[in-house]
Subunit: 452 residues, 2 copies
């Protein structure tokens, strides 16, 4: 990984300030587009635009795709439509669609009308109609396709033509006369069987493929399961539509796990350490206010309990342990469910099994926890058996209920097609806090009556 | 993704019960090794072993590598060393090392002595010396390597020999006479420049490569940044040692994010919904007990406050809101830091910048939160200005301190080379709970004195 030192940045900034285009071009030539993109993000917008203007069209397009979405939008917002169209002409269709999707309808149409290559424009328009969160939204049109009835020399001739337009060859797809996907041609077959008469004799049949409307999280799981670098996308009758490559899937896996993690931490929109203070506060304040509202609700619940608290102040000492334990237990249970759903090891069909299992885990945890606290309080609070019993019993019930809630809530969200990660973290923490207090208030009121 | 229905499983189990080897072989032939592995995990060990014995050696080896680590260990623990050696002979070296690393030293040596292919055994022994968490621990020895001075026809001849042993060709690496990595040969060059005299004239120079001792999280970031499907691994003077493929990196990304997520949820070892109830309880109970210990500590802190609580019971009502808010704020701040460190957007060198930024976010949040609670209490608790002031002031201080702690703790852990994800979740939650109470106790004692 390239690390930019402060000295190097200063060196670049001096070149820009001196308007030394030759030296700037020299520096850029030695860098990978991804490194140029990283450099841009460390410079002012004007400096970045200056460097960008020095790049040849193809590198410029590559750099554009390596930028963060926000920075990309900033850079292209100053460009005339003709120039954006030129960049798009150099992009793979899946990247072109990602870029064009960031713009509003009017800009889109203008840019599309400026793309010289009609085939490219047509492919982009085709791809734009697919839902972003499906295989269709992730695929590109660039791929090498051969007919099963061709001979190897004919195949190689055709591949030579098709390869001109591609950065990288992953798989060679074999189709029949109806364009239905029949197999793949491992590249090594070109080496080991250079003169076979029909490639269907040497192709690998039954290729792993994905339907165009498959959700992307399933696509990602398939990539991991079958160790693929690319996957063909087909329509409902098996005709080859496009190809998804592993780099796009990796981005998806990373983004999905970051989103889940942030949701679990109570951060409501996708923010990063680079974002502005205001953006970060806006992303955090909603859950904090929900937490505050529930804290105030807790005070209302406890106010119904003021008489008992007045009589036996010791009861107040255990308010934190009740809510905290419920929260911890709930977060653990829900994290296990969310993760199982995300990596495919837990199926929504096994709702009942999972609940039963968690119930047993909850019972075990509850027994250990309430025994520990019971013994501690028995020793440290010799005169207050009612309090000791109230705390231990409440903890037992809280742990079991919190475990069950932590399991049921994410599973229910999954059934309702809402991201179950929303259920971990603050949501389960807060609801278990409140629930714990209600249980504690009732149990202690009961035991106080019983023992006095 | 293959979904096994209960009917299909029953169908397979009947075939096994009837000992119908022919039909069983037929069913297996139609399945991808990854699907066979999934099927195994749904069957009893004996049923799985029966099916496994019917596979040809190469498929058996592939299936073995697709299994979960635990299931794999179960299956091979019943195999004689000779048979395990045969399986290993069919595996890629990186997979072979993963498998052999699960065994103890004695078993390892016995198996290695049974491997017929001396080159394979030697490669495995070479790879075993690298740290599992570095590029060396992830790489395999299978790759296609050509000399920069060869002509294209000579290259293709050599590649044909080397390709025999490989499942898939990702890149062709070009080295000089000292085996130093000089470039890569895009496969399309074989098509477009079939007769060039020296491939160094058409190779791509400056290939992205990684040093053998690079930590794997950095390797993963490079794969994502440069959109690679494979990356060459070199020693300190640039000699080519091996290749890392994207499938192994994807597994790493997924595992690392799952580990972080579990740590943040207070689950101490890597468990899944499939794991036994005892294993899951064992993974969860440590943090719960730490939570309990801190809950009891909270009761001790509050007991120093009993006189005030006795006098002004209303103070007890706000115990939950103080701890809860501190916890929520701390988890948010630490999650942002942990994620920034994981995806490379935050650098440990910017410790002070990040802290300053979080301080401002903390101030904003603290102002909003304490104002809301101040106004609410002013209205609902007209006679108790001391309580209103105590709660609002404590919240203000708690939010700022919790934000700072949430930032400092993970950054400090990162500096100490401990996984910063350990700091999110229960740790920060619990310490902020305790800290919040201490602040609340002191602030209210002060305000009670002031207003009475």
């Amino acid at each position: 990984m390239k690390e930019y030192t402060d000295e190097y940045l200063e060196h670049i900034q001096q070149i820009i300030a001196a308007n030394d285009t030759e030296k700037a071009r020299e520096e850029l030539a030695s860098l990978h587009p991804a490194d140029i993109a990283e450099l841009y993000q460390k410079l002012d917008l004007e400096e970045a635009e200056y460097l960008f203007s020095l790049l040849d069209e193809e590198t410029a397009a590559d750099v554009l795709m390596e930028l963060d979405e926000d920075d990309r939008l900033k850079l292209i917002s100053d460009m005339p439509a003709e120039e954006i169209a030129k960049q798009i002409d150099h992009l793979d269709t899946d990247d072109a669609v990602d870029l064009i999707q960031q713009l509003d309808e009017e800009e889109r149409d203008e840019i599309l009308s400026h793309i010289d290559d009609v085939e490219q424009a047509g492919d982009i328009i085709d791809l734009l109609k697919y839902d972003e969160d499906t295989a269709g939204g992730l695929m590109g049109k660039e791929m090498i396709v051969v007919n099963e009835n061709w001979s190897m020399p004919e195949c190689i001739r055709q591949m030579r033509v098709q390869a001109e337009e591609m950065d990288e060859i992953y798989y060679v797809y074999v189709v029949d006369n109806d364009n239905k996907l029949r197999g793949t041609l491992p590249l090594k077959m070109m080496l080991t069987h250079p003169s076979v008469s029909k490639i269907k004799h040497v192709m690998e049949t039954d290729p792993v493929s994905v339907k165009v409307d498959t959700p992307i999280d399933e696509v990602a799981l398939d990539f991991e399961k079958y160790d693929l670098v690319a996957m063909p996308v087909v329509d409902s009758i098996g005709r080859l539509l496009g190809q998804i490559t592993v780099d796009d899937v990796m981005d998806q896996v990373r983004e999905a796990s970051e989103r889940d993690y942030q949701l679990a931490a109570g951060i409501s929109s996708d923010v990063d350490t680079d974002d502005s203070i205001l953006a970060q506060t806006k992303a955090r304040i909603p859950w904090l206010l929900i937490g505050i509202a529930s804290g105030l609700l807790a005070s209302v619940i406890l106010s119904t309990f003021e008489v008992q608290l007045q009589a036996v102040t010791t009861l107040a000492l255990f308010i934190p342990i009740i809510g905290g334990t419920g929260g911890n237990v709930g977060v653990q249970a829900s994290a296990i469910v969310v993760q199982g759903l995300a990596n495919g090891s837990l199926d929504i069909k096994h709702f009942a099994t999972q609940l039963g299992k968690e119930l047993l885990i909850g019972l075990l945890n509850a027994t250990v926890i309430s025994s520990v606290v019971f013994i501690y309080n028995l020793i440290t609070l010799p005169g207050e058996f009612a309090v000791t019993m109230s705390v231990a019993t409440s903890l037992f019930i809280v742990v079991i209920i919190a475990t069950l809630l932590g399991t049921v809530v994410p599973l229910t969200l999954e059934k309702l097609k809402i991201n179950p990660a929303l259920a971990t973290g603050p949501f389960i923490q807060i609801s278990n806090d409140i629930l714990g207090l209600i249980i504690y208030v009732h149990i202690s009121t009961m035991f106080l009556r019983l023992f006095s």
